[in-house]
Amino acid sequence: MEEMLYSSAHEMIFGFAKKPVTVANGLTFGKGKVVPEVNFTLPPMDLAHENVPEIRERFKDIAHRIMERCVELQQEEVVIEFEHLFDMTERPDFGAQLTKDLKEVIEKYRQSHGTKAALRVTVADIRDRTRPPRMRSGKEIETMLRSFELCADAGADILSIESTGGKEISDNALMIGDVEGLLFALGVLGPRDMDFLWREIVSIARRYDVVPGGDTACGFANTAMQLAHQGLLPKVLAAVVRLMSAPRSLAAVEVGAVGPLKDCGYENPVIKAITGVPISMEGKTSACAHSSPLGNIAAAVCDLWSNESVQDVKLLSGNTPEVFTEMLIYDCRLMNTAIEEGRAEILRDLMVDSDRFLDPQALILDPKVMYEAARVIVNAGEDKFKQAVAVSRYAHGVVKEAEATNKIRLRGVEAKWLEKIGKILEHLPEEEEEFYASVKARYEGHFIPEEYGLN
């Protein structure tokens, strides 16, 4: 990407994307409305073959309840995300059957109530089972691609994944605070895998005339955020990792993904700024899955608003999928009313201001920071390693400046880490080849170079 589709951060706002995306039933994303995206998972039950009939009934029932709540609240547009559990990808027919079941419910409500619903199917990355993983060879990738294909054929409108290329390095790197390891995972291995994997996904999507949505760095940026939340990692490192992951996720769009990008890693605004694709984000309504310091600010430039994932359990007012559908609907209704009344910028700025100085991770999610991060990536050229290094340095600089000007307060131990991260980033080799040569021996045995097209 040599240019940015947005000319300023101010131009970026929720509900509007420069390149809106329309699915088969006419539902459009990024063209003046924020659409709720509901993600659910099963309650405690196992996925054995003998339980498939029960699981299918449960899925249909959940979809009915979600759609019914949309009808009750006069919500005419919604996305249901079907995020595979591992067995649902491992057994492609199983995942496809559930896709078909969900689509039938959606279609029923289109016919009976005119509700426009799209089905996003997020296939599980089962390559992560073995360490070191085989990313391009072996049965796992074949099974995953088969799963994408069957789900596309069974009624998916949007294909997505939270792919794991580089995770075999980043897991340990996060644990020991190894910034170079994180860069190796997110700036070298991840982009290579994204390029390989997303060419395949885009090809399948085109064959079945469905939308190749996008990928998110869940296992990297979200994991870092969760470790920081538990006091295991400094928040400043999680903030840097968030932007470090953006070049890797951008790679999907560079080979044909068109959005809506998938929520979870929170890096999407950077990619929207560069490419103009619509994005899904999650914030306060994902507290069902995990805590975050990004509850409001995450919505500032979203096109879809998600709850991450909620397990289907009973509450006083109903079960959680429909309860979270309702919460998402009200969030979206507020944003869409602000758009209609010409007050969207006010709401966006309030959402940003309410969070941004309370945590370095929120500071990074400020659309102005995200926009400038996008510019840094574009200016770094095509090389993903250079992009990752440049945007990491930028993230570090943003937090450092905010601390120096007393806009955010960092505990002493966080400030020490910020200093440490800065020094590491400062002294990195500038070229990927040199960097790879310097770290290859350190990570030998933990990854298979050939599986990433490396020597």
Binding site: T41, L42, P43, P44, M45, D46, L47, L85, F86, D87, I126, D128, R129, R131, D171, N172, L174, M175, I176, G177, D178, T223, L227, Q230, G231, L232, L233, P234, Q311, R411, V413, W417
Partner: protein, 211 residues
């Protein structure tokens, strides 16, 4: 400041080479290995544990200190044969079948190793047969199972039943953890304990192995 104090402080700072140096120096000064272990290495790790709980240290610092401790311990081990300074015991850890989540288990492993346990990580997507085989083979004091999915947590019961059927359930303490798991669930599947995070998992293992 005496050698043992210097050793303790070096460990608290995670200085691997200094820990090795002061451990050797203490040995050269004819300090008994057990004393070096207790008043140098373990005393240092106790401070590290407190700093972690108080938010002064993050996991990377704890792991670095643990690495330093092991560097010192390697020098002491030949002299500690027969004494209680050897491994605190063996723990087997695995993520249950159908679940590929790994990092939480790895953090528990690292923290347990820091506390002196020998930990055998049998991986992710582990079926009951492999858990049984590992208990037979490694004879751990504790077996830890992890699950991050509502659809895999129940497999913990399958594993415990398998151990029961093989007649080895009583040979090992079983602990469980992961986002969807809680104390009540742990009791319902017949586990001996539940920990909500890695730090408490270490405390739990200590309690169970002290019994």
């Amino acid at each position: 400041m005496g050698t043992l104090e210097k050793l303790r402080d070096a460990l608290i700072e995670g200085k691997v080479e200094e820990v090795k140096h002061y451990t050797q120096q203490a040995l050269d000064e004819n300090t008994p290995a057990k004393t070096i272990l207790d008043q140098g290495l373990i005393a240092g790790m106790d401070v590290v544990g407190v700093r972690f709980k108080e938010g002064e240290y993050f996991l990377p610092e704890v792991l670095l200190c643990a690495k330093a401790m092991h560097a010192g311990l390697d020098l002491l081990k030949p002299l500690l044969v027969g004494e209680s300074g050897q491994s605190a015991g063996t723990v087997v850890l695995g993520t249950v079948k159908g679940d590929l989540h790994d990092i939480g288990k790895r953090i528990v492993k690292a923290m347990l190793e820091g506390a002196g346990y020998e930990v055998i990580d049998i991986g992710v997507d582990v079926d009951a047969e492999k858990f049984v085989e590992s208990v037979r083979k490694h004879k751990p004091l504790v077996l830890g199972m992890s699950a991050l999915l509502t659809t895999t947590m129940r497999y913990m019961k399958t594993v415990i039943d398998a151990l029961q059927n093989e007649g080895i359930r009583d040979k090992v303490k079983i602990i469980v953890g992961g986002a969807p798991v809680n104390e009540e669930f742990a009791k319902s599947v017949g586990a001996d304990g539940y920990a909500p995070n890695a730090s408490e998992a270490v405390d739990l293992v200590k309690r169970l192995t002290a019994a």
